[in-house]
Structures are given as C-alpha cells and as structure tokens.
C-alpha cells in the first residue's frame, strides 16, 4: 500500500526523522492561510505518482496570494488521470545539497537493503550505478553505526555529514522495520544548515502486514472492479482486451494470457481464482468476469487441489441463474475431470484437453 507523502512524513516525524514544517490543506483558501503562517512555502500535490514534479504538481511561492493562485492551478491538474484532493504546504527549506536515501527489500539477499547516493533530487533510475551505494543489512543485528560509516565512506562522505548520517539512517531503518515497509524512500534528502531533512517521502507498506497496523489509513489505487475482486479474495487485474480469462494459479494464468497474445488475441483481464476454490468462490469469480461484458470467455483449469467437478457445477449454476450468452472456450483437466466433463456435457458444453487448443479456439471466436 503506497502512502501519500504527508502520511510518510508523519511516520518519519514519529521516528524522530526531521521533516519540514507543513500543513495539509484541502482548499485554495486554506493554502493561502498556510502560506500566511509559514512564509515562503512550497505547495505539493498529494498524489500517488512519482512524476508529479514534471507534471507541474509542485510550486514555490512567496506570499499568500501566489499560494492561492498556484493551489487553484494544481487542483485543476490531472496526473495520470488522478486529481489532487489535498495539498501539502511546507516551509521552504534552505537546501545546500540534494542527496538520496532509501530502504527497500533485497529479494536476492533476502534482507533489507540501504540505497544511498550523493546524487539526489533526480529520477533514481538516472543515477549512475557506481554512484548508488547498496548495503544489504543483516537483519539479525540490524543497521549498526559501523555500517552507516562504511556506506558513507563508499559515498565519499566524511566529517560532520557522516555524523549526521549516523544519527539519521538508523531512524529510517527502525521505521522501515516497525512499520512493515517495502519501501521507504527520501528523494531528495536535503542537506540544510540545520542538518539532514526529509524533503520528500515515498513509503509503501507490505499489504500482507496491514493487519498489524490498524492505525494506518487504507489507500487503494485499484479500480472498482479490482476492489470487488479483492473483497472476494481473487487476484484480478484489468487489461482492456476482449477475451476474459479465468484460471487457477498465478503462473498458469499469466501463461494463459501470454498464449492468448501469442495467437493474436487480446486478453481482457488476469483472474486467478486460486487453488482449491469452493463452488461459491468459483461462482463469484465467474459472475465478476461476466459483468465486464467480454466478447469471449476462456476458462483454463488444471485441477490439482482445484476440483474440475466443482468448477463445472459453478459454471452450470451461473448459466442457469444469470444466463451465459457469450461464446466460451473451456479447458478442463485434472482432479475429478470426468465428473466435471459429464456435468458440462449435459449442458451441451464441450471441453478441451489441452491449453493450446482452448486458447486457439478462444482467439478464433473473437475473429
């Protein structure tokens, strides 16, 4: 779950990480009032896109009149289709140097990873590989001062700035661990006459650990349909084509989409209804797909813990209750395959043995 900048900064502040003084506002007038209180300020759109600066979502102003004008302009902007609901109005800080610091998870090392660079304030992908210092942290001992000093040495940082980092970095590490973050990124990390200040905050919390953090707000970037799928505990992604796809297992669902594309078709979605789903869940998955009004429905079942007869019965149930008008390509093999086929044959629905045949048939149906 991605957090808005102001929420990330709130978490930072709670862990003793310095952030600029600021106010969260929802109207143009409030933006003016905040500027009147804080003086020279920066106004920042609170949207979940990394490119808001380039899109005009950040403005520096020196008086309340300008603040109102800029706030109004930003409220009218669209960022990848998203509008701004809130603005963060912050005191302008005196930046001597822009640095980069992040904690993330290194899947290869199976450890937290510190990323640090003297080249901050730019797109992180543009930072030269050798200028980005990477330090996997042994999480049995946590981030120790000597690690910070070594990261600093590799960055070419000495003296008072190194001392600043030794104070700063362990706070970010603690927040990253305690909050179950997947990413805690500060770009830019501002070096000011008062020391290091987090001028930005990009924090992502592990969805699977949200149950441990009831105090956090719930934010979603999902479409209405994706939310409905989440409620039903289905893995669903909208893709935009005309062949609705349903399969059991993430890998095989991806492979089914790839195969649809390989044969010239255009998948409408990714829907993995999981292993061992019961008749109700399978019914709900089918109903969800039909509601998207695709041209063709492709079902690819390789039953391990998923039972073919359950899938077939769910299909018949939906057909009887809601009607299934569109053409269907059905592949059904694995556990209780003959029982499943018998159920479908009674309804006049034929099934395929191979995934390849079923996909080609589905693509042919769209022509």
């Amino acid at each position: 779950m991605k957090l808005y900048e102001h929420m990330g900064k709130e978490l930072f502040a709670r862990c003793g990480i310095p952030v600029p003084r600021g106010k969260l506002v929802e109207t143009v007038d409030q933006a003016g009032e905040a500027a009147a209180e804080l003086g020279e300020v920066v106004i920042k759109s609170q949207v979940l896109t990394g490119k808001r600066g380039k899109a005009g979502g950040i403005a520096f102003v020196s008086n309340p009149g300008e603040a109102k004008k800029e706030a109004a302009r930003i409220f009218d902007l669209k960022f990848d289709g998203l509008t701004t609901e809130k603005l963060l109005v912050e005191e302008k800080i005196q930046i001597e140097q822009e640095l980069y610091l992040a904690l993330t998870i290194d899947g290869a090392a199976r450890r937290p990873l510190v990323l640090a660079s003297l080249d901050g304030g730019m797109d992180v992908e543009e930072v030269a590989e050798e200028r980005m210092i990477r330090w996997p942290v042994d999480n049995t001992i946590g981030l120790q001062d000597y690690m910070v000093r070594e990261i600093c040495r590799r960055m070419g940082v000495t003296g008072s700035l190194q001392k600043e980092f030794v104070k700063f970095m362990p706070k970010l590490y603690r927040m990253f661990r305690e909050m179950d973050a997947e990413l805690a990124e500060i770009n830019p990390l501002a070096l000011t006459p008062d020391g290091l200040i987090a001028a930005d905050a990009k924090v992502t919390i592990d969805d699977d650990a949200l149950y441990r953090h009831p105090q956090l707000p719930r934010i979603t970037e999902k479409t209405a349909l994706e939310l409905k799928a989440e409620e039903l505990d289905l893995a669903y992604v909208e893709l935009g084509g005309d062949i609705a796809v349903m399969a059991n297992g993430a890998g095989i669902t991806m492979a089914t989409l790839d195969m649809v594309q390989h044969y010239g078709g255009d998948p409408a979605n990714f829907l993995d209804f999981g292993g061992g789903a019961d008749i109700d869940k399978t019914t709900q998955a089918l109903e969800l797909l039909l509601a998207t009004a695709p041209k063709v429905l492709l079902i690819n079942i390789f039953g391990g813990i998923t039972r073919c007869d359950v899938v077939a019965e769910a299909f018949v149930r939906v057909k009887e209750n809601k009607g299934i008008e569109l053409p269907v390509s059905f592949r059904l093999v694995g556990t209780n395959e003959s029982e499943g086929r018998a159920v479908l044959e009674k309804e006049g629905i034929k099934t395929f043995n191979s995934m390849d045949e079923a996909v080609r048939h589905a693509v042919g149906l769209t022509a």
């Binding site: 998870i105 899947g107 290869a108 199976r110 450890r111 937290p112 992180v124 992908e125 042994d138 999480n139 049995t140 661990r177 179950d180 997947e182 592990d206 699977d208 650990a209 149950y211 441990r212 893995a235 992604v237 893709l239 399969a247 059991n248 297992g249 993430a250 890998g251 095989i252 669902t253 991806m254 492979a255 989409l257 790839d258 195969m259 649809v260 594309q261 390989h262 998948p267 990714f270 993995d272 292993g275 390789f302 039953g303 391990g304 813990i305 998923t306 093999v333 694995g334 556990t335 191979s354 995934m355 390849d356």
Partner: protein, 291 residues
C-alpha cells in the same frame, strides 16, 4: 536419486489438525511420505490419519525424530512456527502459506541461515522426490520417476508442464517449488547446483516468471558452472508494468524484472527458452536424446 529429500526423510506436519493440514497429510502418506508426527498447540493426544499429534515441535521430536517440517498454519502464525521448527533442529522447512509478511519472511530466512537449514517457500507447493516422497500439496499422480529435474516459481503452471512431460513418457527426479513471494528461501541457483551434482538428473527445466532477479542470477550460474542442458519457460510476457500478477513477487517495478531481461539473460547462457508451456516437453525430449 533425488535432491533435498528421499524415501527416508522423516517429516513433521505443523498445523496438522486444520482442514488443509489433515487433507494433505493423507495425500502425502498415500504418496509414500514418511510422516512421523504432527504439531498443533493444545491438540496433544489427537491422531490425524494415524499420525500422533503433539503440542510443540520440541515435544514431537522427543519421541519421533524428524528431518523436515511442513507448515500449514495461517500466515500471521507462520513465523512463530518456522522459527520453532528451526530452533528445534529441523533442517528442511516447507512453508505452504501465502501472504506471510515480508519482514517475517526475512526474519525466518536470517535464522535459517544461522541454523544452516533450507527453507522452501513461502507460498510454495513444496517439493517432491518423484516416486518416493513429497512434502507439499502437489497432485501426486503427475510426479513419476525419470531423468528431469524441475524447479519453478509457480504451482499450477509447473503441474501443467510436468503433466505434459508425464504424458510424453518423461519422468522427473525432483521437482521443487520456490514460491511466488518476493522473499523466498530457495532460489533457482540453489536448486540448479543440486541438479548439476545429482547423477540421476540429466536435464533441467526452469519455470520462471516476471519480477525480481532470480532468473538473471540463474543465467549467470548456468553460464559459468553448468554442463547439463537447461530448458526454460517464463510466464508474464504480456503483463503490464506496476501490476502484481497474482504472486506478490510477479511485478515489474521501475523497469526491473521484465520478461525481456530474463529471456535475454537465459538465452545468452545457452538456455533454450520455450515460447509456450506446451513447447517445453519437445525441447526436453530433444535434450535427452542428445545426452
């Protein structure tokens, strides 16, 4: 021959009294797995599928020595269960649950390193030594003995590919599911090393997907240290960036973990990458005919 486990491997089932735990205990026993005990706190004295249940891993081991453990408990309790199994001295831990928090997974892996133990998963179907023992939830009938080692990040897709091999009369030595999460214990490289050393494994199949860098690391290892032929299939060619495709680890982030990067790395390492799952079995047959 097999790697990691064989017909003598003694297994504990943690979470044995649950619906999944008891069902798969029966399935594993039917396949031939030597299950010596089950653990479910507070359920001591019960018997599941003829297997005695204990309150703790330590208690089970006092009377029933074991080598491996498979966990079926809900994700929020998996860390506790895994650490208990590791401290009690088990050397192979199979984590079936999905949605284990990432920081829990990192803690489990760190402790496993200290204990010199192997963690399979989380979010895995487990592993099977074909014809002799399975520690996992895979449908047993597709796993018949033969000369091919298989390692996969996903479950059903792996069954599909192994099922095709079986239909074509090609069996497997060992099949290992790495798991679909971002932080998993075993990586491709670990299993490839075992297959390269295993005299019974003649050819290797690698089933990967978008996200992370495990396939690229595998490519580096294959190119520097492997003689046996490797056939690969990768899922996610059509996946859009920034979207999680079912598995927590299957996501293209900041331009990393793309399908193209993985295919290129593997192809350069001399791996034949099948463009369809159905194309794997013919490629394996070709490779076997040459060896």
């Amino acid at each position: 021959m097999s790697v990691y486990i064989n017909q003598d491997t003694r297994v504990l089932v943690q979470g044995i009294t649950g619906r999944q735990g008891s069902f798969h205990t029966a399935q594993m026993l039917a396949y031939g797995t030597k299950i010596v005990g089950g653990v479910s706190p507070g359920k001591r004295g019960q018997v599941v599928e003829g297997v005695p249940v204990f309150d703790s891993t330590f208690e089970a081991l006092e009377s029933h020595p074991a080598d491996a453990s498979i966990l079926f408990m809900p994700a929020p309790f998996a860390k506790d269960g895994a650490l208990e199994a590791l401290e009690a001295g088990l050397k192979i831990i199979v984590l079936i649950p999905e949605s284990i928090p990432l920081h829990d997974a990192m803690d489990i892996m760190a402790y496993a390193r200290q204990k010199n133990a192997v963690v399979v998963g989380p979010n895995t179907f487990g592993l099977v030594s074909s014809g002799s023992s399975k520690i996992g939830i895979m449908p047993g009938r597709y796993f018949v003995p033969g000369p091919v080692g298989v390692v996969s990040r996903s479950g059903t897709l792996c069954y599909e590919i192994v099922g095709n091999l079986t239909n074509d009369g090609i069996g497997t030595t060992t099949v290992v599911g790495l798991g679909g999460d971002r932080v998993v214990g075993l990586h491709f490289v670990d299993v490839l090393k075992k297959f390269e050393e295993d005299p019974a494994t003649e050819t290797v199949v690698l089933v990967g997907e978008i996200g992370g860098s495990a396939e690229e690391e595998a490519a580096a290892y294959i190119s520097s240290s492997m003689i046996k032929p490797v056939i690969a299939y990768l899922a996610g060619r059509s996946a859009p960036p920034g979207k999680r495709m079912g598995h927590a680890g299957a996501i293209i982030e900041r331009g990393r973990g793309t399908f193209e990067s993985k295919v290129e790395a593997l192809s350069e390492a001399g791996v034949k990458v099948a463009d369809l799952p159905t194309a794997v079995s013919p490629l394996v047959k070709n490779a076997l005919d040459k060896t």
